[in-house]
Symmetry: C2
Subunit: 424 residues, 2 copies
Amino acid sequence: MKIYRYPERKIWSELVKRPVFEREEISGLITEIFEAVEKNGDKALVGFNKKFDKAVTPEITVSAEELENAENAVPENLKKAIKQAKENITKFHTAQKTQTEKIETAKGVICWRENRAVEKVGIYIPGGTAPLFSTVLMLAVPANLAGCQEIILCTPPDRNGNINPAILFTAKLCGITKIFKTGGAQAIAAMTLGTESIPAVYKIFGPGNQFVVAAKEYAQRYGVAVDMPAGPSEVLVIADGKAVPDFCAADLLSQAEHGSDSQVVFITTDAKIFTGTIEAVEKQIIKLPRNEMARQSLQNSLFILTSSLEDALDFSNLYAPEHLILALENFENYIPGIRNAGSVFLGNYSCESAGDYASGTNHTLPTNAYAKNYSGVSLDSFVKKITFQHLSREGLKSIGKTIEIMAEAEGLIAHKNAVSIRLK
Amino acid sequence: MKIYRYPERKIWSELVKRPVFEREEISGLITEIFEAVEKNGDKALVGFNKKFDKAVTPEITVSAEELENAENAVPENLKKAIKQAKENITKFHTAQKTQTEKIETAKGVICWRENRAVEKVGIYIPGGTAPLFSTVLMLAVPANLAGCQEIILCTPPDRNGNINPAILFTAKLCGITKIFKTGGAQAIAAMTLGTESIPAVYKIFGPGNQFVVAAKEYAQRYGVAVDMPAGPSEVLVIADGKAVPDFCAADLLSQAEHGSDSQVVFITTDAKIFTGTIEAVEKQIIKLPRNEMARQSLQNSLFILTSSLEDALDFSNLYAPEHLILALENFENYIPGIRNAGSVFLGNYSCESAGDYASGTNHTLPTNAYAKNYSGVSLDSFVKKITFQHLSREGLKSIGKTIEIMAEAEGLIAHKNAVSIRLK
């Protein structure tokens, strides 16, 4: 833990810096993987499964039988929980649908926007220590609501060549049946380039390790879009004297357990809450199964005592956290002052894990200070907004002169002619 | 012109291919420019102005006096035109504002989204043959509506070290007073890294040549966002027997005059309109001041005769044009079938130049088939949408079990604890 009492503003820009991620070292490997997938398709993927995941997968496509078996393998209470979460996520994302509103910008000139789904999208779900079936919900639900025609999912197999049943169950629940056993950079390459089994998509979503992140960056050279740039997960908690140290500590630890590079920041104006939360962290961490990971993450964590909540909010805006918890009595007063954050949790009962799973908001959020210039995933991420305009002859007359004068001043005479020839 | 009569579907994927842009050759130069700007700031920019633009600019910041003089140098009728265009663009983009809607996803769980402006944005306006003051409107108007706190503009000086007065006038009209004389990759580097005069921004907008495009791509390594990937401008016109060949030709040429790499596609089901439009192009091109540029562009243009409008629309969706003109009598019937396009122009009087300048829609649009996965610039491009959630104690009770079960199944016990400790 790094503890700061009333740090001067001039050192804030140092404090908000994230650890730098070394990218150059792996770029050669990414290029090689893309080349192999482009050249050998499915065969390359089978090879990478063996090489990187120690898995034998003669078929990379998940079979109908595997999907069926997964259904039976997931406990009923987990199924029920996944369904409730899906319902809440569906409610919140359905409310993001927008109506077409036609605007008459000038007499006879009607303009509007219409949404169209990105036709083909790919979802990547990492393997590793935690089977992130919750991320399947967060990406598949809005993809379906948007009306994407083709939604595919790639995720790495375990050593037995299997996919975690909860991931398969959730995918099927969301209507996704094209699921492929491939992970890491090779999965991104496959969704970008297409193989015999895996269709190429227009946009790729989902979290991953540094290889996946680098591959998503590289994939953009091929015209594919991605959800957003990525970095380690983060939480920043702002607490006042009415906060509960045990709750704050639990939130900080739920971030810290994600990985040794997780970012955890605690800011309070209350000296008692400050020491109380530090003590509560020490007490709670012992009981965690992932306490070693959490402890590593906490080494880089910031615990800051500030003289005012305004200072705390200023620091938060500079940091631009992925998750911001306002453990404040009068949290309403501070909402307008939030300028940069991914998702905000208000009051003592809005723990971050509520948003991670089931409140209905999306947990795919901008990290690494990208909350300054990116939004989290929403229904918008799965659609394009196309603008339309209809001008009647009168409409063109009403703005024709303006177009002609501007086009001529920009030296674009053919642009002018397109008006003149119509109004002649 | 490349002329195809009833081309088979199997060759369509060849026909929709854009010319490939060689990127590797200039990446070394981009890195050098970023390093020079990072090291030497304003001094580097002054040097690049001399080297690349043959301009002596002891000051790179446009002075209040220069802004004042520009106002006097712009003819009254042009000022009036710019103001009318601004008004229409403002109307259309104002209608893109969204209301905050709070959703109760489960009892006691309230979720919503709020918009926050990207605090610092940079607008790049190219120099060269056409002074694109219209692009100033297209970017500055929504930036202002969004509430961006800092809006800066970079554009290259002419050989006398001056900026085109129409650009300065338009910028000032939109309330932009921080204008800097720097162009190309160095302008993008300056807005990314900051210099003594130029503040670093969070998001960069605007068109440019291949150096600007490559620099915008490179800038993203520093955490800056950009409006969208870029490519040469395009139009695709679909015409039926009621279209007017002279109008179609004028629209095709207004695209062709943009540059020798502009993409022009004409599709019709009517053999007379087909030959008529080809003839009209030949007739009109002679009179254009930029006819050499237009002629080069037309060499790669596609003129396609199809057997049905459905085929024409299918081709268009595969091509995913930046601009799509439906010169069709019953254009309404074909709107639902448009899946991929940047902006659509309906009927015989909606010429592309209307949208380029004054209908109110934005002319910063996805090219190079990016209409498959990107929207054009809108108010959304200048804001982030932050999600909020408030759970009462009852709210956490109503979804707590779901969170606990899911967190445990993902192996994230601290996530579970954050709920359990609150409900104990």
